[in-house]
Each structure stands twice: as C-alpha cells, then as structure tokens.
Symmetry: C2
Subunit: 234 residues, 2 copies
Amino acid sequence: MNELADKIKVIAFDVFGTVVDWHGSVAREVTAMNLDVHADEFALAWRAGYQPAMKEVMDRGEWIILDELHRRILDRVLADFGQTALGEAERKHLNRVWHRLKPWPDTVEGLTRLKSRYIISSLSNGNIGLLTEMAKNAGLPWDCILSAETFRKYKPHPDTYLGVARTFDLEPQQVMLAAAHHGDLEHARNCGLQTAYIERPFEYGRNNPKPVAPWDANTLHNTSIVHLAEQLGC
Amino acid sequence: MNELADKIKVIAFDVFGTVVDWHGSVAREVTAMNLDVHADEFALAWRAGYQPAMKEVMDRGEWIILDELHRRILDRVLADFGQTALGEAERKHLNRVWHRLKPWPDTVEGLTRLKSRYIISSLSNGNIGLLTEMAKNAGLPWDCILSAETFRKYKPHPDTYLGVARTFDLEPQQVMLAAAHHGDLEHARNCGLQTAYIERPFEYGRNNPKPVAPWDANTLHNTSIVHLAEQLGC
C-alpha cells in the first residue's frame, strides 16, 4: 500500500452520489416546497433525465453546462408530474438545488484527511459555478475544482480523465479517480488512472438500495471516503 | 459602501504581484541555488520576458500554458546571464519556482476574511496546475481556481474577465477584480467589472519601488488585501 500511496499525487472525485447525496437533498427541497409530487420519485425522474440529455448534447458535438441541462430536464419532469403552474422564480430556485446538495456524513472528514497528503480535486460533469457554490455551502475543501466545463467534454470522454493528469503534468497512473460508479471508474482505468470505488448504497434513496459489490479491477474498494483516507495512510 | 458590498458576489484576484511576491521568491531561490548571477536582476529579466512571450503566442492565435512560456524564457535568460551549463533537472526545478511563490504578509488573512462573505477566485495567466500547487504551498484559501487556461485566453482578453461573470451566472458589475496593476483593472472595468487596486510598492523588489498612486476610475483603492476586506465590511 505504501508504494501506491507514494505513487499517487492527485485524487479526483466524482461528485454527484460519491461526495454528496443528490437524492436526499433534492427530495428534501421538493418536500419543503410543497410541490404536489412524490418527492422520492420526482428526484429519481429528474436525475434519470441526465444521462440521455447529456448523450444527446455530446452526440451533436455541442457543449452546454449542466445547470442548463438540469433546467431543460426540470421543465419536462414538472410537466410529467402535472406541475406546469410552477412559476419562473421557483423553477430557477429549484434548479439550483444542485448547488446546495449535502455531503455524506464521512465526506468532509475524509477529504480533509486526504488533502493533508494529496491534491484533491473534483472531476464532475457539474459546471464550475455549481461545484464552487456546492463546495462553499457544504464545506468541501477542494484544492482545485475541475469540471467537464474545464475540458469542454463530459465524462466519460477520455479528455476529462487524462485532463486531470495533464493539468498537473503527471502520468495517468499518478492520478486516482474516486467514484461510487463502476462505469465511471472503468473509463478512468482505460485511460490509465488508478481507481477507488466508494460504497454509496443509498445513492437512490433509503427505499432503493443499490448493489455495492467490489470489482476486482479497481485499485481500492472503500466503504467511505474516510476509509479511502485510512487505506492511503492519511 | 454597504450597497457595493451587497452587490458584489465574486472577487477575482490577479495573482503574480498582487497575492504573491514573485520577485522576492524567485530571487531567494536563485540565490539558494548558487547561480553566478545577480539574483535581483535575474528575477526581473525572467519576468520581463513574460509580456512579450505571451503577446507573441496570442498574436499567433495559439494557446500554451504559462509553465511552458516560463521555461522558454528561462532558457533564454540563462543564456543571457552566461549560465548555459545549468542541467535539465535544475532547470525543471527552477522553472517550478512559480508554483512556490510566497504570499505577501497580509494575503492569507485578507483572503480568509473576504471568503467569509464572497466567492474568492484567482484570475491569473498562471495555469491551473501552477495556481493549485501555489495555493497548497502558500495556504491560499480559494473557493475556485480560475485561470487563463480555463478560458483558453490570456488576460487582458475580455473572455477572461467576462468569463468569471459567466461562470457564476452573474452580471459583470457583480464581480470585482482585485489587482496591483492599473492596466489589468482598466481592462476589467471596460468589461463592466468593479475594480480594487491593491498597493504593492515592492513588487519589483525593495531596491525598485513602483508608484502606487490611486486612479479615480477604480471602485476601491486599498493598501492591502486586509484593507480591502475592511472596506467591504469583512
């Protein structure tokens, strides 16, 4: 483990689901707004629109920031849930819930410990403004905010994973991606990065646990970000 | 002043000279390396190569990061000072002195106080890796690292100043640029940003004081970053 801990210089984190609890945060705000919807399902539907919307933009060779994508999906989901009466100011406010997502209980301690030894960065499809405001709200101690917006490509485009290594003039194997999604990690691994899986069984809510079994291909399997810090001797 | 303090949401900082003391830091490292040069003059010559080298790249419509520009200039300045014998490892190390620049004595306190109320960001021609490592070495508590590299344009291109406003979905007048250079501030002002001049009389060394007289056009004139924090009620 010491050899690995010495080799790595930068740990980049997936954010939605890995660092922050998007499902719980969105559901709570939807409930607080007294929208006439099942908050749990509304949060899932909003998030479910994200991958296809992103793919559509990528397939067209376009680039738009996630705040805009979130808004397009929100308007559609509101219609699907019969909430067309919601006003512009409320939509704008609700769309920024992604700037106010809450961290998992171990996140801030884990990042702080890792920061003592490594450069810690986001690597998220969230835009730079979103990630900066989220970090400020949630106390996430990033050394640097890297985003799909930095590289003008969404994950899983190789330019994002390799972009972290290039930003710091490192070899890909000196960079580790930490994520709660095996697919994201697989793409990073194909680019030569180290990979750390973080278990987030309740990413989709308490009523909707997801499997968190290890994949042998990952460099490290971790029950939390604090566990990752422990495994790397921080 | 309260109206101004309320209007501003983001303060972006020029870095070299404004936040960190490039001259003193470079001269100290050159001295420590026992190079057979006048450290003060060597630092000035290296920095003097920066504007023309950047202009040349911009005129050609190219984009390269500052680390590379610094290296090209360094090789030329070493030759000019008769230091052609310096090896590759030493050149590489010396070139990264820009990642190790020390803050002015008021910098960390001033930024920390401003961070309690505002989003604080770099806006520097330094590349993202350089600025991140500098922040980690020097304890600069940025919320976000914005760089010429983020926008693929060097200052004073309008895309850099307006890019800060766009990043945070703000009007230009909700963003303030803080800098020790009236020219940088003038370009920001022409884009609609608020401007804060920071006095750094010894940017070019104790032996080479520069004038720091106020320009009326600036929104605020400050003797230090702590003074800026005081003027904004932080």
